[in-house]
């Protein structure tokens, strides 16, 4: 018998197998609104008060943020005691894009095409971003039984009615054009022979509008737009991190101080408009969760935007993706795409029960997994942690032999790498820190309250309310990235910069001191502290 797991797990699998036929005959019931609320209240990590701290200074003073983010907001600027000569300008551009992921790259392409002199700075390489790791797909209401209005309802309701309507409107109304734009750049979407997009459900969608490129959807998008950035000759300054924004004496944003990650040298970028597209925060490991995020996801943009006076929104709302890998340990926290459930796998507890509908929204399904484990219906993995089963063999039964390799090849590869054949046995999962639902607040056109400062992608707040749906993030980075590029390249033409300064860094520090905040840390974090040192 094929037994890639320890004995206790194989025993549990017997129950999963025994109940499979019966489970497949009936679809698990959807929860009522009241049942969802109760589940979230009791088990969602966002509802744990002691995991949050009050922000003591700045535009969101008095509001809550995750402890780790609050600490960064309460920490000292990296350049407080550095002599940065702003009269020596190393780069002078119309549009400065901070971040080389999906939002930054699509922003740069649109800005370039609109005639702006645009430059990307990025902490690691262009494409080292959460966009590259997005697996499942991208939403757009382009089928006959669907409409942007239906997409609006799913997005706004799925986000608990906390999103900004003008942002949701832009997201859903520009979604089909985003797909078309990508397709015309050469992104390969899954299609049938007659060209129709293959679309599936995601958690919380009422229509099948998830477009995908196998389970490399984000990678396929990212590598294509990265290629386009290079073809267009847009300058990309890699291994260079923005560590503070620069403002001018009119209070406008005027550029950024950059840090060469390898040499430690600073440089100055002057810009008429700045777009923060720095992505998420998974590597902050809120509440000790493992993460599905890339190495550089450390909330840098939130910190430097906040210090310059831009407000945050929904900064206390974090997405834990219900299905992160919890075994084997080598892939702890890695994303197991929601598409695994879209193509048929159920969530099943240690007793073999499909305890919830597999396509509830992410916050609800994550809470469900946590409940099963807390109440003793989890599967124990080596090391003592618990998870629940994702019954992947169902996919092959439903879709026919070969479906897993065809539709979710990355998942198949990830597990086969450690000898686990998900066609034959289920895999075990637990929520992983996946996404910051909030971020720096933007208006309908992508601007913050600081003149000429825009935000796009995961760093922006207000689009998804307090829970994002699958496929709305890849969509968000393209829609709001493109929009930021277009808006910035209109805006810069009317910008007259005054004298550049870093006064806001000094005054923020004075506020920190006045509030007696001393964390002993500098921020932004830039890279997680993973190196182990014996002394």
């Amino acid at each position: 018998m094929y037994a890639p797991y320890p004995e206790n797990m194989m025993e549990s699998i017997k129950k999963v197998e025994a109940s499979r036929a019966a489970r497949m005959a009936t679809e698990p019931r959807r929860l009522t609104a009241e049942e969802k609320d109760a589940l979230l209240n009791e088990f969602h990590p966002d509802r744990k008060p002691d995991a949050f701290a009050e922000i003591k200074i700045g535009p969101n003073k008095g509001q809550k943020a995750p402890l780790e983010l609050a600490k960064m907001l309460h920490s000292t600027s990296r350049i407080l005691n550095e002599k940065i000569d702003l009269s020596k300008v190393d780069y002078d551009v119309d549009v400065l894009v901070i971040g080389g992921g999906g939002a930054g790259s699509s922003c740069a392409i649109e800005a370039h095409n609109a005639g702006a002199n645009v430059m990307i700075v990025t902490k690691l390489r262009i494409g080292d971003a959460n966009t590259m790791m997005a697996e499942g797909g991208i939403q757009a209401a382009d089928k006959e039984n669907d409409s942007p209005v239906q997409h609006y309802l799913d997005c706004f309701g799925g986000g608990h009615f906390d999103a900004k309507p003008e942002l949701v409107k832009r997201l859903v109304m520009e979604a089909p054009d985003a797909i078309k734009w990508l397709n015309e750049l050469g992104v390969e979407f899954d299609k049938t022979d007659d060209g129709r997009m293959v679309t599936t459900h995601g958690g919380g969608t009422s229509r099948k509008r998830m477009h995908a490129a196998k389970d490399y959807s984000g990678a396929e998008i990212m590598r294509t737009i990265r290629d386009e950035v290079i073809n267009l000759g847009i300058p990309v300054v890699e291994f260079t991190s923005a560590v503070e924004l620069i403002k001018d004496d009119k209070g406008q944003v005027a550029g950024a101080v950059l840090l060469n990650m390898e040499t430690g040298d600073y440089s100055v970028a002057k810009a008429k408009t700045v777009v923060i597209a720095t992505g998420g925060a998974g590597r902050m490991h809120y509440q000790g969760f493992p993460t599905s995020n890339h190495y550089g996801a450390t909330a840098d943009g939130l910190v430097l935007g906040y210090r310059a006076g831009a407000a945050l929104r929904n900064q206390d709302s974090i997405q834990y993706h219900p299905t992160g890998a919890i075994y084997p340990s080598q892939i702890l926290g890695a994303l197991v795409t929601e598409k695994v459930r879209s193509v048929g796998a159920q969530l099943v507890n240690a007793n073999g029960e499909a305890y919830i509908h597999p396509l509830e929204t992410r916050d609800v399904n994550a809470s469900g997994v946590i409940r099963e484990c807390k109440e003793g219906r989890g599967v124990e993995v080596p090391g003592g942690a618990q998870g629940v089963w994702l019954d992947t063999p169902m996919i092959e039964i439903l879709g026919g032999e070969g479906t897993i390799e065809k539709r979710i090849p990355a998942m198949f590869r990830m597990y086969m790498n450690y000898g686990i054949d998900m066609r034959k046995v289920p895999i075990v999962i637990y929520p992983t820190l996946h996404y910051q639902n909030g971020g720096l607040e933007i208006d309908g056109d992508g601007f913050t309250s600081i003149p000429n400062l825009l935000v796009a992608g995961e760093a922006a707040g207000g689009i998804h309310g307090t829970n994002r749906l699958m496929g709305n993030s890849l969509l968000d980075v393209i829609v709001f990235g493109r929009n930021a590029g277009k808006q910035a390249s209109k805006k810069y033409k009317e910008v007259e910069l005054g004298n550049m300064n870093l006064d806001h860094v000094q005054s923020y520090d004075a506020e920190l001191k006045a509030a007696s905040l001393e964390t002993g840390e500098v921020s932004p974090l830039l890279l997680p502290k993973y190196a182990r040192h014996e002394r």
Partner: protein, 224 residues
Amino acid sequence: MEKMVNVYFFGKKYSVPASLTIMTAMEYAGYTLKRGCGCRHGFCGACATIYRIKGQNELKTCLACSTQVEEGMYIASIPFFPTDKRVYEIKDLKPNQQVMMELYPEIYSCIGCNACTKACTQSLNVMQYIAYAQRGEFEKCAEESFDCVSCGCCSVRCPAGISHPMVGLLARRLNGKYIAPEAEHLTKRVEEINNGEFDSMIEQIMQKPITEMKELYNTREIEK
């Protein structure tokens, strides 16, 4: 007590837990990674690595994030590889054999050694997708190269100097843009939106009070 193994980073010996990946073992040893670390989950190709196990002849390639350490591994990461990407305007290209001859003529110098395929960290049949590219069979090249993460291990080993990931990328873009049939429902929907057909409906739903939105949301019909 955790089982430990001895590995050698750039020739220097470290004792690390046997359960770690090469990447986490480097961090265990005290390295703060800047180069050679990206998504950490096998999608970005930043962590291309070469190693040889002491006493064995074969030189192996892998992704540091997705490979477990073994006793006696001599490990060197590849911080950067000068891939030779050609610049083009995708809208000016035509999906024919001529494109590859002009942009990546070195693919016709392939000597069939198959070192690229052996080096592939994704277990792709790299030499085969280059053969498809040579013949202008972009749909097949796109499919065969689809799971490429552009780590560049193939190119490192290629005696003909081919930048395989770039060839696959071009084939996929040509296939996605020109060869795969158009999604007519998508084109139609974009036109409808541009014609303002959803404007009044979206304005209406935006104005609805939350109580009404909740009712609409909680009672919406879900496609089977």
